[in-house]
Amino acid sequence: MILTAIIFILVMLSIFVLLFFMLFILVPAIIKQTKISEDFILSKTEHNFQKLRTHSQTISPSARAKVMCKQENKNNTTRSPYSCKVIHTLYNRISQCTFMCIGSGDCAKVCPQGAIDIAHGVAVVNNFCTGCGKCVAVCPVNIIKMVDANSASSLAPQKRYSKLPISIYSSLCNCKTIPDKSPAL
């Protein structure tokens, strides 16, 4: 019995030491190397749960952002040291498509909810979006629009967003969802 207890304590101690090494040495090193500062244990759902409850009541619960680009970014600018704004200023566009998402993640960085992921070099808005609109302001290509949260797939803006320009399909791009021809572009 005593021997079993001693072995049990040793096993638990070794697990605790391993956990300590992981939490205080390995995890900070990985965060520094990959530059992904998201929680290693909790998912976004769990991490943002409290924030989601408070923000969704105060900001704009019926609006959410939508990225109007679905084409895969083969240039892979996700790991680029430059921001979207810098790339857009230097090269204007990263492919033949003028409206293609640059994918450097300026919108993801400013999003207070962590609601924007960069998948295959293109920004994707997930369900954490509370419609604060901060991402719309930082996108240099103007491909993020605010749409009604209840009909997020609709390209046409709802009545309450009548100030926004109407999105149209363009023949210039192979993408199926193309943003409007704004004067800035």
């Binding site: 990959t34 244990i41 759902t45």
Partner: protein, 182 residues
């Protein structure tokens, strides 16, 4: 039988509500969650086996059974962080998930009598979660196509889940079990 029971009739999502909110949030991008499912399967299996081994070897002989959630969480954290580290280094993607995996492991350890049962319960619970995700995805897609903003998506999902749950109660499970014992 255990697999079918925990997959449909006593689904972890429908009966216990484990991962219901996650299923609603992640239903938009099921194909993007492949890596997360792989990591969850590995974490569930390794944690269940390790915790079960420690429980049978040390905790039960020492009569410390109430301490098993503590052992489980310590092992789970270690394994989860290890797999997360590997995934982040190799693919630069995040797959962290705590409550769903941990609660399924606790459920499996609570309701099983041996290691094989625990593993089966883990896998069937994960599969039932994927099924609910698919169902939620279909409801969301259809409600979006309908473009009827007056219908609340979450209310629709709840109604669908309630209907599914009620429909499973009408099935006589004894027909599936030989000798009438589940």
């Amino acid at each position: 039988m255990i697999f079918l029971y925990y997959l449909l009739f006593s689904s972890s999502v429908l009966i216990y509500g484990i991962g219901f909110n996650t299923a609603i949030i992640l239903c938009d991008s099921i194909s993007a969650q492949k890596l997360q499912f792989l990591k969850t399967i590995l974490t569930l299996l390794v944690t269940t086996v390790a915790t079960s081994a420690i429980c049978t070897s040390f905790i039960v002989p020492l009569k410390l059974a109430p301490l098993y959630p503590l052992v489980c969480i310590v092992i789970f954290l270690g394994i989860s962080i290890f797999f997360e580290t590997m995934i982040r280094i190799t693919t630069a993607k995040t797959t962290s998930n705590f409550s769903f995996s941990f609660l399924i492991i606790l459920l499996a350890l609570n309701e099983s009598v041996n290691l094989l049962e625990a593993v089966l319960i883990c896998l069937s619970s994960l599969l039932s979660f994927i099924l609910v995700m698919l169902l939620t995805h279909i409801i969301k897609r259809n409600s979006t196509y309908a473009r009827d903003t007056s219908v609340n998506f979450r209310a629709l999902v709840l109604l669908a889940m309630a209907t599914l749950l009620a429909s499973t109660f009408f099935v006589d499970l004894t027909k599936f079990a030989k000798g009438g014992v589940l």
